[in-house]
Amino acid sequence: MNHDDDTNIGGWDGDFHTTHWTEILKAHTQDESRQRAALDVLLRRYWKPVYCYLRRKGYKNEESEDLAQSFFHEVVLGRKLIQKAKSSQGRFRTFLLTALKRYVIDTHRIEKAKKRVPEPGLISFADIEWLNVPERIRSVSPNVLFDYAWASSLLDQVLTEVESACCGTGQTIHWAVFNARILQPIIENADPPSLGTLCLQHGISNESVASNMIITVKRRLQAAMRRHVRDLVASDSDVDQEIRGLAKIFSDSGAGF
């Protein structure tokens, strides 16, 4: 994957490669469309974690929405948080969370927030599923909930991207087999179908071929995840550590859950 300055910054679709958006914002500060594109990436990745953190801190829905809007408007955009993060140590999401915590310390901002953000707001909260979130998740610590929402958004993006890539390159059956055998058993707590069953369902010649299909998709998944996480850590060697660290947070926090 080429992480150089990408001239094909599109919208939020399967072809978008998250390049170094800090470089984009620095290098093209006069180009509003590029700034907006980079900001769109950032907002889509982080609005949910920010909102969830605020809800978990006890702010009501409207307060959380307003605070999140004003945070991104004032701090992320206004104070050029991204540029500052480039030179900081550690992960960007940690940096963002620290900035968010500082921002909401002053509770008076709740009242002023509504007045600061231009209409329409930066973020659309139309698809927030807060009420659908199980109570057990909503009751974890704000920090864990922030990470949870971030990880969930990342997984959604990566899974959607890989599914799209498989279907777009003649590997629809590869994806179907991987989804049925590996993903859905995790997501739905369901018994996985046997490889033999999957071979019959999809006209696959033998179980070895089906197994290889699964491995192929898994490797696509790993590559996609590395691509996304790489932008957010200091070096290649930090990628696995970042993912493992998150997995461990959720294992430790969700013991028995």
């Binding site: 949910k48 599923e129 659908n132 979130v133 199980p134 057990r136 998740i137 974890v140 864990v144 949870y148 929402a149 990880a151 969930s152 958004s153 997984l155 959604d156 990566v158 899974l159 959607t160 599914e163 989804n179 055998r181 590996i182 993903l183 859905q184 058993p185 995790i186 997501i187 739905e188 707590n189 018994d191 996985p192 490889l195 179980e207 070895s208 197994s211 290889n212 699964i214 491995i215 898994k218 490797r219 998944l221 790993q222 996609a224 995840m225 590395r226 696995d240 993912i243 493992r244 998150l246 997995a247 461990k248 959720f250 294992s251 926090s253 969700g254 859950f257």
Partner: protein, 178 residues
């Protein structure tokens, strides 16, 4: 993706999905050298499933079936399976069979030792949490095996505790018979 978002899934499921995206650290294709069995054991216990070989078709036949069966626990580590009371006995059997076959693929003493430890650990889980013996070995023979493994300095404390309790379970079974 059957479900359009992972938001709302349990923490454990998110953890497993994340682990699924980690790079392979394949056991099957590694060239084992003279390694500390403790380090190899810890690495093996932290292996995420599925256990994919680097070259898919290179997987020896004896390892294929257990690998396929273990693949359904994708995202969990081998350590997770061993210490989890809810691990299904079919999965434990697959893990046991995998460990039994592994030394035939890797002929080193280190892998023999590590595979034996995990082999016994999978049996221990069955005894302790399912009250089922997933092996033909006698309770007496198992008890001796558990005892010997507790004496190994490279076996983790958590495994030693598992073996200690399994040994006690074997002694109880032997007592019930007599």
């Amino acid at each position: 993706m059957g479900k359009k978002t992972t938001f709302g899934l349990s923490l454990d499921k998110i953890s497993r999905l994340l682990r699924l995206t980690l790079g392979d650290r394949s056991t099957q294709d590694e060239k084992p050298g003279d390694q500390d069995p403790g380090a190899v054991l810890r690495q093996f216990l932290s292996r995420e499933l599925p256990l994919d070989p680097v070259t898919p078709d290179s997987l020896p036949a004896v390892l294929k079936r257990p690998c396929h069966e273990l693949a359904v626990m994708a995202g969990k580590t081998i350590g997770d399976l061993l210490f989890d009371p809810t691990t299904d006995t079919l999965v434990l059997r697959a893990l046991k069979d995998y460990c039994k076959a592994l030394p035939k693929h890797f002929g080193t003493e280190t892998w023999q030792a590590v595979a034996t430890a995990v082999y016994y650990a999978s049996i221990a889980n069955g005894l302790l949490f399912h009250r089922i013996k997933i092996t033909e070995l006698s309770s007496q023979r198992l008890g001796e095996g558990f005892e010997k493994l507790q004496e190994k300095p490279w076996v983790t404390d958590e495994l030693k505790d598992l073996f200690r309790r399994a040994q006690a379970a074997c002694q109880e079974r032997e007592s019930e018979r007599s």
